[in-house]
């Protein structure tokens, strides 16, 4: 790690290095103009095109991390984003068209770059905690997609054996601590996990994903404060899609600052705003933060400006075969279109094609391959058995086969002692 971490933005800028950006990187590859100009959303929160540190402590900037990715990795990023996209589009279409489909989703389309960019910065044995909207996180961290498809329709062979469903997918063996139906605590147990990992001394780090509303919860403060004070190897990635739930409350009505990242100032740690629609931008920042954490320099708060194409929950305003939810009332279709125009998958595809890593045909083929894979996954899932009713009494404890069916007239002790 270079010393520049401890310098101010201005100093680094003055030195004329450190700000090796996506633009420069692409320029280096002979590609310019690839980044689409960012749309603004009125007077609301702006996405910023370059990763500008908000707090006084900047992240290390003299390495542009994506430069070090291989062609295979850059293509793998695209594959993962496509998997996420088609997984959720498939769920959306099923919700719209299949009577009796018992899955549901908090759709992640729009957020793909956040999940994939961040998870690519992690090793397999690093841990990641999701939130309620975490299909994309699970896939990005390498969860089994078939089992995920089975889980959201509560099949006995789902990731969680049908106990959890869409909001609680966990896959421990790929380092996914799980989604969380309660908004907020993920940062707290994520940072706690980081604390334990440091003690273990194997250089692992932990990462928590959160929505913008995380910034309004009690856990946000205590976790950042403690993680900063104790230099816990932990990265906090906020996917600021600007809205809370299906009421459509805008985050600007819930906090008094333009960028959540500025809150890092209260903890004297780097707070960074990145373009959440650019997988390389996200990767660059998270990778720098992960390196910083691994080096014992403590946590980083990263805010990805992003957007969710669907409604908060479910498929209101969506049409089969079409991406996104329109006419939601709390947001304009124009706003949605402006974000669709910056789609992270289109963008990365362009990068891959323009840099000669994929031909247009190969890019198409990749997409078809993923679609087939997802189609298969859901077919497999549908063929799986449902759980047995009595199994609801199992898995309450590791050390107890099952608990008693206390709703039954002949619950065992009744017989035993009567």
């Amino acid at each position: 790690m270079s010393d520049t971490i401890e310098k101010t933005v201005e100093e680094v800028k003055a030195e004329g290095k450190g700000f090796i950006s996506r633009r420069n990187f692409l320029k280096g590859l002979g590609v310019t103009g690839a980044s689409v100009a960012l749309f603004t959303t009125g007077t609301r929160l702006l996405a910023t095109p370059e990763q500008e540190p908000v707090s006084k402590i900047p992240l290390e900037r003299d390495i542009y991390w994506p430069e070090r990715l291989t062609r295979e990795q850059l293509i793998e990023m695209q594959r993962k984003m496509l998997q996420i996209r088609w997984y959720d589009r498939t769920v959306a279409d099923k919700m719209l068209t299949e009577k009796g489909f018992r899955g549901y989703m908090h759709g992640s389309p729009g957020h793909e770059a956040c999940a994939v960019g961040a998870c690519f910065a992690l090793n397999k044995d690093d841990w990641m905690a999701g939130y309620h909207r975490s299909h994309h996180h699970a896939i990005a961290k390498g969860a089994n997609i078939r089992k995920m498809a089975a889980e959201i329709i509560f099949k006995a062979s789902g990731t969680n054996n049908g106990y959890g469903g869409s909001m609680h997918i966990m896959q421990a063996d790929v380092g996914m601590l799980g989604e969380d139906g309660v908004v907020g605590p993920g940062c707290c147990y994520g940072a706690g996990a980081g604390h334990a990992l440091r003690a273990r001394g194997k250089g692992q780090v932990a990462l928590t994903f959160g929505g913008d509303a995380h910034a309004t919860t009690p856990y946000f403060h205590i976790s950042l404060n403690e993680a900063a004070t104790h230099k816990i190897p932990w990265v906090y990635v906020i996917e600021n899609n600007q809205y809370l739930d299906a009421r459509g409350q805008h985050i600007s009505e819930c906090i008094n600052v333009d960028d959540i990242a500025i809150m890092a100032t209260a903890y004297n740690i780097p707070g960074v705003v990145v373009d959440g629609m650019d997988v390389l931008d996200v990767y660059n920042a998270v990778k720098a933060a992960v390196e910083r954490a691994r080096a014992g320099r403590g946590p980083t708060l990263i805010e990805c400006k992003t957007y969710r194409y669907y409604d908060h929950f479910g498929v209101r305003g969506a049409e089969p075969g079409k991406l996104g939810s329109f006419g939601l009332g709390y947001r304009s279709d124009r706003e949605l279109l402006s974000w669709l125009a910056r789609d992270p998958i289109d963008k990365h595809r362009k990068t891959l094609v323009q840099t000669g890593m994929l031909t247009e045909r190969e890019a198409d083929a990749l997409e078809e391959e993923v679609k087939a894979e997802i189609r298969d996954a859901f077919r497999w899932a549908e063929a799986q058995p449902v759980p047995r009713a009595e199994d609801g009494l199992r898995h309450v404890f590791v050390e107890e086969e099952s608990v008693l069916p206390r709703m039954l007239a002949d619950c065992p002790p009744w017989k035993t002692y009567a």
């Binding site: 106990y163 959890g164 609680h168 009421r247 759980p387 009713a389 199994d391 039954l408 002949d410 619950c411």
Partner: protein, 327 residues
């Protein structure tokens, strides 16, 4: 009398209670449910319009904040309501309710008054949401806290009446609001009325068997009672309505009459409200036979197959009652 939905009844209760108190000094925090209620042929109730945005405030996602803010508003003398409709966040207001709201009147020797209501939604209703979003435990948590009244309506009539009682009271209330009742409608009075605290409601009168339940447990209890009546069994069904204080007298009198008491809870078995019911009756009368059914001591699973198996229903009640009658 007119037909009103559950929510309309509650909103009407709030407005009428404030009218009776003659005050507009009222603060209401909400999260997911905009306080606008309609009922066919009746005027729309819009709390925000009526009292203004400074009093009726949408407060984002931070349940801990508005649980505490409710206490503060009440401490300076405003009637304050925390409309806590995020059941997965039920433990959040617990600190403020148990350590502050419930203790301050006593700890200040009678000085502090807390005319507040924490309307805490409990769910546990549908399958598919799993552990956190379909839980039902908060009844016993809050009922074990002294210094706060814990009420739990299961009829539209009580939803309104208990709301009026709670809002008019100078004492803090926890008003547990079962999500299963959201779709319920009933013909209830248009004029204000109170449901007295500490008085259980006898929903059916009978002499063979007493069934005691509360909140969403009443759905299974009533279904079971009906089936039993179909078999010619005379069932007395008691709806606690108020968990703390609990109406010992009604319970004991009924138990003395029938000699058999079945408790039904959607809450988790260990220390469910039914445990308190049985303990009170057993303490104060002899020779009664008891049976209790409840949600097992397990989180609610997501898969409908498992969840529906575990949630107490009318058949469970019917069979448990039969077993108890054979005892």
């Amino acid at each position: 009398m007119s037909m009103k939905g559950w929510f309309y009844a509650q909103m009407e209760g709030i407005v009428q209670a404030l009218e009776q108190l003659g005050t507009d000094d009222f603060i209401f925090w909400y999260e997911a449910t905009t306080p606008i209620a309609t009922a066919p042929g009746l005027p729309t109730i819009d709390l925000t319009k009526k009292y203004g945005e400074d009093r009726v405030r949408y407060s984002g996602l931070d349940e801990m904040w508005y649980a505490g803010a409710t206490l503060g508003a009440a401490l300076v003398g405003s009637i304050a309501i925390d409309w806590h409709d995020m059941y997965m966040a039920n433990p959040y207001p617990f600190e403020i309710v148990s350590q502050h709201a419930a203790k301050l009147h006593h700890m200040t020797g009678g000085q502090a008054t807390i005319p507040a209501v924490w309307v805490i939604h409990i769910s546990g209703q549908g399958p598919g949401l799993a552990g956190q979003h379909s839980d039902y435990e908060a009844d016993s948590w809050y009922a074990h806290v002294p210094g706060v009244r814990t009420v739990i309506p299961s009829t539209v009539y009580d939803a309104k009446g208990l709301m009026i009682t709670a809002v008019k009271s100078k004492d803090p209330f926890v008003y547990l609001n079962g999500s299963a009742f959201r779709a319920l409608s009933d013909d209830i009075p248009d004029t204000p009325y109170e449901v007295p605290i500490g008085k259980a409601a006898v929903r059916t009168r009978g002499s063979d068997l007493t069934i005691v339940s509360s909140g969403q447990g009443m759905l299974a209890a009533m279904e079971g009672a009906q089936k039993l009546q179909g078999d010619g069994i005379s069932v007395e069904t008691i709806d606690l309505r108020c968990l703390n204080p609990m109406d010992t007298e009604t319970l004991v009198k009924s138990a003395k009459k029938t000699g058999r008491v079945l408790t039904v809870d959607q809450s988790k078995y260990t220390l469910c409200p039914g445990a308190e019911v049985i303990a009170r009756i057993a303490e104060f009368t002899d020779g009664v036979k008891f049976k209790r059914i409840a949600f097992p001591d397990a989180p609610p699973p997501g898969a409908p197959e498992m969840f529906n198996y575990m949630k107490p229903n009318g058949t469970h009640v019917y069979e448990a009652a039969k077993a108890l009658l054979r005892k």
